[in-house]
């Protein structure tokens, strides 16, 4: 029996899938990860883009309904090779996000969690661009954190 992922996980994976396709078409050698600790792994080289679903806020969809409308806080950290690349990547990602992307429902066969199946189910879109900031900790940082940018967005799935 197949194991189906829930909406939050699908939302995070759909964005990863979308940006991975974009990077494959338009950039070279960009590593996409979904955990902050993975960024600092010795096997992962710059430039790195880390996508994480940090928080979920749920509100009643409408009066009298028990349905919830979930909004996801997604953090995209960019670890670039240079200051110029940091800015280019941030602009590129912002441009790609503004029109939304396909929301997929992911699943995997029982006992095989390495191969994911997906089926399109609506679209995800950005309801709010919260911040797009350079992150600086001074000179006392290692190479991976020298040119860092963070983008935070609120994402909602279309119903």
């Amino acid at each position: 029996m197949a194991s189906y992922f829930r909406q939050s996980r699908n939302c995070e994976l759909s964005l990863l899938e979308y940006l991975q396709t974009c990077f494959t078409n338009d950039w070279s050698d960009i590593t996409l990860v979904k955990s902050f600790k993975q960024v600092f792994s010795s096997t992962v080289n710059l430039p790195i883009v880390c996508i994480r679903l940090a928080d979920i806020s749920s509100q009643r969809r409408e009066i009298g309904s028990t349905n919830l409308e979930d909004k996801y806080l997604v953090i995209i950290d960019i670890f670039a090779r240079s200051d110029a690349q940091r800015l280019d990547l941030a602009d590129y990602i912002k441009e790609k996000l503004k029109n939304g992307w396909t929301h997929y429902d992911f699943s995997h066969a029982s006992g095989d969690n390495t191969t994911l199946d997906k089926s399109a189910n609506g679209r995800d879109f950005v309801t709010e661009f919260i911040s797009n900031t350079k992150v600086e900790f001074g000179d006392d940082v290692e190479d991976k954190e020298k040119y860092r940018q963070t983008i935070s967005i609120r994402v909602r799935k279309s119903s």
Partner: protein, 174 residues
């Protein structure tokens, strides 16, 4: 007789200019007052979020304490309004606020005794791996996971702001 492209005429069907001025001044005062209340609400939500994150991390075994960080986040007056978190003050009272928010890999000194003020600064940057402090504790390298409390507060802050502002603007006193 001269022809005009545009002619203006005052018709008394609504408030007079004086009444309108009074109404706008009153609304401005109310909106300024509400800004402070919005800032206080955001501060209290942010502090709650940090506390929740700290408890969650304690459960998983990564013992962290952000008491100073919570105390350092204050509402203060700025030009034309209020703000949450004075960076200068936070740099002094909780210099690791940025590390906690955005995450970082660096060296930290484990806290042994909270009574000893010399051991207060526990985050020591990326290059101090060989330093041995007077209390014989070697700094250790670790990845500090980001909490993103600023981004979280900014995202819910816009909702607080909208709700408070609408409550003022919906009043019909004119």
């Amino acid at each position: 007789m001269a022809r005009n492209f545009l002619s203006l005429k005052f018709v008394k069907s609504g408030p007079t200019p004086e009444q309108l001025e009074k109404f706008l001044n009153q609304q401005f005062r109310e909106l300024s007052f509400k800004t402070k209340s919005v800032a206080k609400n955001i501060r209290s939500a942010m502090v709650g979020y940090i506390a929740a994150q700290v408890s969650a991390r304690n459960v998983t075994g990564n013992r962290v304490s952000t008491g100073n960080l919570i105390k350092s986040i204050q509402v203060h007056k700025t030009v034309g309004g209020y703000a949450v978190g004075d960076v200068q003050y936070m740099n002094k009272e909780a210099p690791y606020w940025a590390v906690v928010n955005w995450g970082h890999r660096g060296y930290t000194i484990p806290a042994i005794s909270r009574k000893d003020k010399s051991k207060k600064l526990r985050f020591v940057g990326a290059q101090d791996g060989n330093l041995v402090y007077p209390f014989q504790t070697k700094a250790r390298q670790q990845v500090i996971a980001p909490m993103n409390y600023i981004e979280w507060a900014a995202s819910i802050g816009s909702r607080f702001f909208k709700d408070e502002m609408l409550s003022v603007l919906r009043k019909k006193n004119i």
